[in-house]
């Protein structure tokens, strides 16, 4: 038998702290929705108000970034079939990010006059968050670097990590300026006009672009669809990368070299937006292809709900284009950001989390005894009909909340936010039941040799 070309691959084990990342991320999501339901921040306060900034960062860092970091520490090794560079760094990284977020929230509350200005919250936030994200980029970057040449989905993650670096650098500049640490004229200009660039780099680059890369692989895997490496996928990567480069680098240059009080950030962002729409159109084409070519006809909840999230992204892109073309974007930008954050990113995140927690828990608990004794299947850990209704309620509430912002009726927004909170709590309860094996019949739950997983920490030894 020929064994030429065969190689030994070490495989991937469980990332110990990923469940802790997920738990803290969900806590941040529930907190943000609770704040929205009580009328904290936009639309009761202005879009630029410190209260709104608290809300945005609890969602962007506390929920979405922790979710993405926890998922990447587990799934970048899956994307490239390599072990994570360091299994020790994720814990200090988590501590830095959470402490940094708390300091940042305190800093915004100082701006709002709700917290005493004596404590240097912004410098602390700048230090802790840049350290936490630097550790993330270092760990994932070293992992990816060792695996060159990379597959196409991994390149999306690389570009996402570059956008994360840009987001953090701008964020640190803002924090040091707002905290009074620096009065450098260029940095003050960047703080005054750079918010759209920071938001595009964070929401569009780090969160959306990375999620797109991971979704290519996860959707293909869970629906038994062919992996995409073709021209449209390369096109999505190329257009998206150029769009982000234009927005981030071009936008920064436009601010630093502004002539008079006017700068050309608006023009730069329009160009980037057109390129970004092309990338999203190609991504949409690819995802439609994946759903059509799948060999598994009956798909699971996570793939169905991810489909709704991708449709929301498409709707957001179309809406964004229409609002920009009609000059109404500034008035409705809050609704667009809400819809991207909750309809697309949070929807996709919750859908994938539902599957990932089930799979990782199953692998941790039953992996060691597979084949030796009858074990439950992954799908025995979940009860999809129970989760289905919470997901539909969640998406309906997000659509209602967006509509409430479009018709500028804040009371309806608060009701919708409260429904989002309830639906999210329902989904979280389902995920916790999965982790605790509560959906598995008790006589099958723990066959000989299997160990009950702990809620917040995985045991890599079991794989």
């Amino acid at each position: 038998m020929s064994i030429e070309g065969f190689c030994v691959v070490a495989g991937v084990t469980l990332s110990r702290w990923t469940m802790s990342y997920f738990a803290l991320a969900l806590l941040a999501l529930l907190s943000a929705e609770g704040l929205m339901a009580t009328g904290f921040g936009f639309p009761a306060a202005a879009l630029e108000a410190p209260e709104t900034l608290v809300l945005v960062h609890v969602v962007a860092i506390g929920w979405l970034s922790l979710l993405l970091c926890g998922a990447l520490f587990q799934f970048v090794p899956v994307l490239i079939a390599r072990q994570l560079y360091s299994d020790r760094l994720p814990l200090p990284t988590l501590v830095c990010l959470v402490a940094g977020l708390l300091a940042l929230v305190c800093g915004f509350l100082q701006l709002a006059g709700r917290v005493s200005p004596d404590v240097p919250c912004f410098p602390a936030a700048a230090l802790l968050l840049s350290l936490g994200f630097a550790l993330t980029v270092w760990n994932l970057g070293r992992t990816l670097w060792a695996a060159r040449p990379l597959s196409l989905p991994a390149y999306f993650v690389v570009v996402g990590l570059c956008a994360l670096v840009a987001t953090v650098i701008l964020g640190v500049i803002f924090a040091l300026t707002l905290g009074g640490t620096t009065t450098n004229a260029t940095l003050v200009d960047l703080t005054a006009a750079g918010l759209p660039i920071h938001a595009v780099a964070g929401l569009g680059g780090w969160l959306t672009f990375t999620a797109i890369g991971v979704s290519y692989r996860l959707l293909a895997m869970f629906m038994l669809a062919p992996e995409l490496e073709g021209r449209t996928t390369r096109g999505a990567l190329a257009f998206g990368t150029v769009a982000l480069a234009v927005a981030i680098l071009g936008g920064t240059v436009a601010i630093c070299h502004a002539i008079g009080p006017e700068n050309r950030v608006g023009i730069v962002l329009t160009v980037a937006g057109v390129l970004g729409l092309a990338a999203l159109a190609l991504y949409g084409h690819d995802i439609r292809h994946l759903y059509r070519e799948r060999r598994r006809r009956k798909i699971e909840l996570n793939s169905r709900m991810a489909g709704i999230a991708v449709a929301n992204l498409a709707a957001a892109a179309v809406g964004l284009a229409i609002l920009a073309a009609t000059g109404l974007l500034e008035r409705y930008v809050g609704a667009v950001v809400l819809f991207v954050g909750f309809g697309w990113l949070t929807g996709l995140g919750l859908a994938k989390l539902y599957k990932i927690v089930a799979f990782l828990t199953w692998l941790e608990c039953y992996g060691p005894v597979l084949g030796k004794t009858p074990t439950p299947r992954v799908q025995d850990l979940v009860v999809e009909p129970s989760a289905d209704k919470w997901f539909f309620l969640y998406f309906a509430a997000v659509w209602a909340a967006t509509l409430a912002l479009l018709v500028e009726f804040p009371p309806a927004f608060r009701v919708a936010a409260a429904v989002m909170l309830i639906a999210t709590a329902g989904i979280v309860a389902q995920i916790v039941r999965t982790r605790l094996l509560a959906n598995v019949a008790s006589e099958r739950r723990l066959p000989a040799g299997a160990q009950m997983p702990r809620l917040l920490v995985s045991s890599p030894k079991s794989t």
Binding site: M1, I3, G5, F6, C7, V8, V9, A10, G11, V12, T13, P77, V78, A81, R82, Q83, D87, A146, M221, F222, L224, P226, E227, R295, R296, F359, W362, L363, G367, P368, L370, G371, K372, T375, R377, V378, K461, T463
Partner: protein
Amino acid sequence: MTTAFVDLDVRPVLRDGGEPFEAIMNAVGGLKPGEGLRLLATFKPTPLLHVLGARGFTHTAKEIGGGDWEVLFSPALDAPPAGTTASPESANPAAADNGAWPEPSQHMDNRELEPPEPMERILAAVEAMAPGEVLSALLCREPIFLFPQLAKRGHRWRGAFEDDGKSYKVLVRIGAPTKGAL
């Protein structure tokens, strides 16, 4: 059995930010039958434990202070290290990894199954096979969560994408009954 160990200290390479994998595999390739490797590293080289486990080495790892680790890789009794030219296959059930493996006694096509069913089927099949036998399985992607499970059970494997670039073929060679988990 007393094993003679060849020393390899990769700490200077690691401290310089280098990648010692090639040096380690060269050292392993140069081992004589029955020899083991004493490896000194600045961290516990978990992926390497799996790689060398797949080549028939058992290991004991201990921390030796300052964050450094000493790992002793010993050739398993039935499995001479890679590069060994000894022994006809049938007499020694594990002719070296670089040598020929017997024809697979079982074939499996798992390409139409959703993860993790391929892993479940492969692990169920290997439990029923005798030491030295080889299982061949086709999959639609690299089964990266399977490998640590195989390593833990003392089996060895090789895998590669087929020429079509879509099917992944993995060969699993059944090891001697497990002598304790990794």
